[in-house]
Structures are given as structure tokens and as C-alpha cells.
């Protein structure tokens, strides 16, 4: 007689519960999809899907409400932290987070993000910095690197007339209301794993009621950078990381 080994299946990878599975509108090589997945995994691991609320921005991730299987709203361009404040203040038991691009957060919405951090608003912010305005076709953002060519700085960003990159982690970490501020990058599997940990920590900061938390994720935009996806990842490492150093900018333990 032949002994038949029972066939066992082990799931090693699947869609996070907090994602709907709707196909995304993102370009090939875009990092928004990776960032979404990390957020969804963090939500699953912390068991907060049923009380999580997404405030999506105006930008390429305006459709994020469609990809996350959680209650969601879409804010006006730059106003996600204000809208999140309204949602959170009337229901402090919910876990409210914004997901914002660098044009949204560091340009038009810089007042709202600064004041949300200053108030120590108990929110989490996922800040995706791809150094350009993706959705409108790759114009210069406040985060665009010196010399970097964009569709509205065709000769490269001249710091004498177009100013210098605004470094949000450095800025916000100065505020007493900020509890956890960190910058990570999505340019390699190792960095992606670190990014995930920071996102979990940011949500934990909110769950524990310790105040404002933000994780900045350096991300590529191959379409608007006019690069191959792999080259774009390399470019994050060689060009962006030196200007936007990775690390924890603020970890306040007490609330």
C-alpha cells in the first residue's frame, strides 16, 4: 500500500483584509500601491480595520477610498488634516489617518498640517513624498530637489528664484504637539520593511492617545521623472535620501 501524505496548503501571502482588491489607477512603477499595502497591513495587524477612517487627499491617491476597505472620505486639496480633525474630535475612539502627497501636504496644505501637529491632534499622517505634483503632470513641488527638472521648472529648480526643498519631518518635529515623526523610503525591500514598522508605530501612537504622528515615505514617480521604474528607485537612494535623511525625527513617549 502506498502511504498518501495529506496535502497541506499554507497561505504565505494574500491581500490585506483592509484592501478591497479593486485594481488601482496608478502608473507602472508607482509607489502609492506599495504604500497603500503597508498601511493596510498595519491596520490588519493592529486589528483596527473596523474603527479606521481614511481621509484621502487630492492627488494621484484621490482614489485611495476605493482601494481601502474601510470608511473613507476625500478632502479638498491640502485640507485632509483639517477634515481629519473634524472626524476625530467628534469620535475620539476612531483611528483617523490622512494619506497625502507632497504638493497636498507641503504646499497648499502646509498650514493645516502644521496646526494639526501643533495642536497635537491625535491623528496619523501618511505622507508620500515623490518630489513632484504627480496628478497634474509632474510640476515642481515644494519638495522638488535643487536642479531637478519638472514640467514647471524645465531648466531645473533654481533655488535662487524657486526656493529650496521644504523638509517636513525636520519642520514638524520642532512642534511640541508632534509625538512621532519619522522618514522612511520605499526604494528597496529592506527599506520597505522599515517603513512598515514606522507606520505601525505611528498608528500605535494614535491608539495610545499620544498625539500627532506622521511617517514620510520617499517614493518614486517614474512617469513624471521620466525614468524606468528601477532607475527611479535607484534615484531615490542616490538623490533624495541625501537631501531627506531617513530616520526618526521625534519619538515622544509620554502623551
Amino acid at each position: 500500500m502506498i502511504a498518501v501524505e495529506p496535502f497541506t496548503e499554507q497561505v504565505v501571502f494574500q491581500r490585506p483584509r483592509a484592501m478591497t482588491g479593486a485594481p488601482t489607477t496608478y502608473c507602472p512603477g508607482c509607489m502609492h500601491g506599495v504604500a497603500h499595502r503597508l498601511v493596510a497591513e498595519a491596520i490588519d495587524e493592529l486589528g483596527i480595520r473596523e474603527r479606521a477612517i481614511l481621509v484621502a487627499p487630492v492627488g494621484c491617491s484621490v482614489f485611495a477610498y476605493n482601494y481601502f476597505d474601510i470608511d473613507s472620505v476625500v478632502a479638498a486639496h491640502g485640507r485632509a488634516p483639517a477634515m481629519a480633525t473634524g472626524l476625530k474630535r467628534v469620535q475620539p475612539d476612531k483611528i483617523v489617518f490622512t494619506y497625502q502627497g507632497d504638493g497636498d501636504l507641503a504646499s497648499i496644505g502646509i498650514a493645516e498640517i502644521l496646526h494639526a501637529a501643533g495642536r497635537g491632534e491625535n491623528l496619523t499622517v501618511i505622507f508620500v513624498n515623490n518630489a513632484v505634483y504627480g496628478m497634474t503632470g509632474g510640476q515642481m513641488a515644494p519638495t522638488t530637489l535643487p536642479g531637478m527638472k519638472t514640467t514647471s521648472s524645465p531648466l531645473g529648480r533654481d533655488t535662487r528664484t524657486m526656493g529650496h526643498p521644504i523638509k517636513m519631518c525636520e519642520l514638524l518635529s520642532q512642534l511640541d504637539g508632534a509625538a512621532f515623526i519619522a522618514r522612511r523610503s520605499l526604494h528597496s525591500p529592506a527599506e520597505i520593511r522599515k517603513a512598515k514598522k514606522a507606520i505601525v508605530q505611528a498608528f500605535k501612537t494614535q491608539i495610545e492617545g499620544r498625539g500627532f504622528s506622521m511617517v514620510e515615505l520617499l517614493a518614486s514617480c517614474p512617469t513624471n521623472w521620466d525614468m524606468k521604474p528601477v532607475d527611479a528607485l535607484k534615484w531615490i537612494e542616490t538623490h533624495m535620501v541625501p537631501i531627506y535623511p531617513l530616520g526618526d525625527y521625534k519619538t515622544r513617549v509620554e502623551s
Partner: protein
């Protein structure tokens, strides 16, 4: 309940609290600030949310967020602050969430001044932000009416999931009058089914102020228009003083003054004075500026000899009155700008001019705005009909 003496701004705040407002977000601006200050004290006392926002832009988006959570929420501001809120108001309209806005209007344009005005009529009634929609706009003329309309604003906002605005001027905001406040209402216990409260034990909800596909966006627009039409059918409110009971004359008014808010209140004094002089004049005071009482005005125009619109602006509601009257009778205008409040005597003079006009109404189609200070101008017919018919 006994009456108490209260300032307009504070009375509105207390009325909102009694109507069950759960969260207030705002930014200081004269002549509205007492409302915010009152809230800063009362809301925390009651365990409700008060937050002084970093700007009106932030305030309206906080309001938007709390409204998405299905909570009763409001903000208040004055003209320049309302200008800053326009984008947010448009998002709120697109999202079908209920909010209450109080606009205590001041003189414009620009920084203008802090004196009373009605020059946000266009801003609130016609175009509270980009896109095709209209908020409900309620215009009180006394502090008591401001209290009553504040409560109504919350009811209407929730019934139609729309923006309801209480539109008043700095006179009413700053004036003290005896008011009777309504009883404290219980707060709602469960948020509505569409609210953003976390997808616990149900499919997720989303509140989204856009539709990428033209078909879908048109459907959203049609839904908004259906709602606006329903509101227009059911919610028009106005007050009229067409028969003078004090002078002993029971003649129905042949001349109609149309004015809202403080201008309406002053106009009533002028109407009464003119009645004493034997002029058969009455007042129509719209309470809902949106929906506008167009059908009623059109009805009045069937019989009226002429209309006089009085506003504390350069002629904004005037356009709606003209549309309603539809050329059936001449429509004159008297307005003051810059934060000036029209005086009863000035209005009375305009009523007399209207009374002097004879002949077929279509010979007197007066294109407003014409009047500055009437005392500065000769009150001759040739003068007032100079722009007639072309």
C-alpha cells in the same frame, strides 16, 4: 419660559446649543466674534466640541469632517471669512452632508469694514462656491427670529442633507433684544446610516466629493437639483405687511417694498409712516432668500403698481425681485453700501417717488441700482426713469 436680554451673536450660539449642535469650529472675525467666544465657554461645559481653527479654510474643512461623521456641526464667520470657505462649502454640497453656517455680514469689498452690510447676498444665495448648487439661506430681522431660524437651520440641513445658512448683518449680531430661547433638545444617539464612523459590522461607507465620469457627475448634479426643487416647493418663507391695521385703512397695498433682514425691519417703519400719509404701501420681507419667494412676488406683481427693493448693498436681491416680477410692474431700488444702514425717512422718500409714478408699468422699467442717498438727488420722475426701456 421667561424672556432674557441677549446680544444677537450670543443668542444664536445658545440657540444652536439648544438645537443640539455637537461641534463648533470657527475663527475670530468682527462682527461675529461673540458667537465663537460664547461657544468656547459653553461647548466644553456641556462636553461638546469647540475648536478655534487656524483659519476659516481649516474651520470649514473641520466642519466638513465632523458632518461626514453624521454629527450636528456648525461654523460662523463674517464676509471675508465666508469668502475663504467657498471651496469647502462646495465640497460639502457635493457630498450631501448637513452643516449650518452663520454669516454675520460686514461691509465690503476687500477688508471693507466691520459695519453691517448685506453684500454677501450673491455670495451665499447665488454662488456659495463653484459648481451648481444652492444652500438654504435664512434671513432673520430680529434677534428672536435669529434664534428661531437657527433651530430651523439645523432641522432643514438634516432633513435635506444640505447647507443651511443663517444670513444676518452686523446690526443684528451686535444688537441686544429680549428673546425667548427654546428648550434644550436631546442629542441624537445614533449617527445616520451613511455616516463615516468606522466599518464595524457593515460594509464600508465613503463620502466622496467627486465623480470622474461625466455620467456619474451629471447624476450627482441632477440629484442636487431635485433636492433644490423640493426645497423650493416646500420651504419658502416670508412675512408680509400688506394691510395696515394701525391707520384704520384696510386697503391692500398697491406698492410693495421688498427688503430682508435689518433693511426689512427699517423698511417696515418707513411703510408705516407712508401709510400715515395715505400712501397705500406694504412690505414683503423674504425670510428664505434661498429658496426665494418668487412665486409669491409674481402673484403680488399681478396687482401691484410698483415695487421698491431696499438693501444694504448695491442691488443684489434686486435681481431676484426683477426676475419674479417679470416686467409686470416697475421695480425701483434703494440701497446703501459701505456699512451704512438706510434710514426710515430715506426709504419713505423713495416710497413717495414710487407713488408718484403713473401710467403703464412698462413705461417705468427702472434699471437699478439707481439710488445713492436720495437727499442728494432731485426726486423728479424724469430723473428716475432716465434708463427706461431699452
Amino acid at each position: 419660559m421667561a424672556k432674557q436680554l441677549m446680544k444677537g451673536n450670543e443668542a444664536i450660539a445658545e440657540a444652536a446649543i439648544r438645537a443640539g449642535v455637537e461641534a463648533y469650529f470657527g475663527y475670530p472675525i468682527t462682527p461675529q466674534t461673540e458667537l465663537l467666544e460664547y461657544m468656547s465657554k459653553r461647548m466644553p461645559e456641556l462636553g461638546r466640541v469647540f475648536l478655534q481653527a487656524e483659519s476659516e479654510v481649516a474651520a470649514i474643512n473641520m466642519v466638513y469632517g465632523a458632518a461626514c461623521a453624521g454629527r450636528r456641526v456648525m461654523t460662523s464667520s463674517s464676509s471675508p471669512g465666508i469668502s475663504l470657505m467657498q471651496e469647502g462649502l462646495s465640497y460639502i454640497a457635493a457630498s450631501h452632508v448637513p452643516v449650518v453656517i452663520v454669516d454675520v455680514m460686514r461691509g465690503g469689498p476687500g477688508l471693507g469694514n466691520i459695519a453691517p452690510s448685506q453684500s454677501d447676498y450673491f455670495q451665499m444665495v447665488k454662488m456659495a462656491g463653484h459648481g451648481d448648487y444652492k444652500p438654504i439661506v435664512l434671513a432673520p430681522a430680529t434677534v428672536q427670529e435669529a434664534v428661531d431660524l437657527t433651530a430651523l437651520a439645523f432641522d432643514l440641513a438634516e432633513r435635506y442633507r444640505t447647507i443651511a445658512t443663517v444670513l444676518l448683518d452686523g446690526v443684528l449680531g451686535q444688537m441686544m433684544e429680549p428673546v425667548e430661547l427654546p428648550a434644550m433638545r436631546a442629542l441624537p444617539t445614533t449617527p445616520p446610516a451613511w455616516a463615516i464612523t468606522g466599518a464595524a459590522g457593515r460594509a464600508k461607507n465613503s463620502v466622496v466629493p467627486f465623480r470622474m465620469q461625466a455620467d456619474d457627475l451629471e447624476a450627482l448634479n441632477l440629484e442636487l437639483q431635485r433636492k433644490i426643487a423640493e426645497i423650493a416647493r416646500r420651504e419658502v418663507r416670508f412675512k408680509e405687511y400688506l394691510i395696515d391695521t394701525t391707520s384704520g385703512s384696510t386697503d391692500k397695498a398697491e406698492l410693495i417694498v421688498v427688503a430682508f433682514g435689518t433693511a426689512g425691519r427699517v423698511a417696515l417703519s418707513a411703510v408705516k409712516a407712508a401709510r400715515q400719509k395715505g400712501i397705500c404701501v406694504g412690505l414683503h420681507r423674504p425670510i428664505t432668500l434661498s429658496p426665494f419667494p418668487d412665486e409669491r412676488l409674481s402673484q403680488l406683481a399681478d396687482e401691484a403698481r410698483g415695487f421698491l427693493v431696499v438693501e444694504m448693498n448695491a442691488g443684489q436681491m434686486l435681481q431676484d425681485v426683477k426676475l419674479s416680477v417679470g416686467g409686470q410692474a416697475p421695480v425701483r431700488f434703494y440701497g446703501r453700501t459701505g456699512g451704512q444702514v438706510p434710514m426710515p425717512d430715506d426709504i419713505a422718500l423713495e416710497i413717495e417717488k414710487l407713488d408718484e409714478m403713473t401710467g403703464h408699468p412698462l413705461d417705468h422699467k427702472i434699471e437699478g441700482p439707481v439710488a445713492l442717498r436720495p437727499v442728494d438727488r432731485p426726486a423728479r420722475r424724469q430723473e428716475t426713469s432716465r434708463t427706461s426701456r431699452n
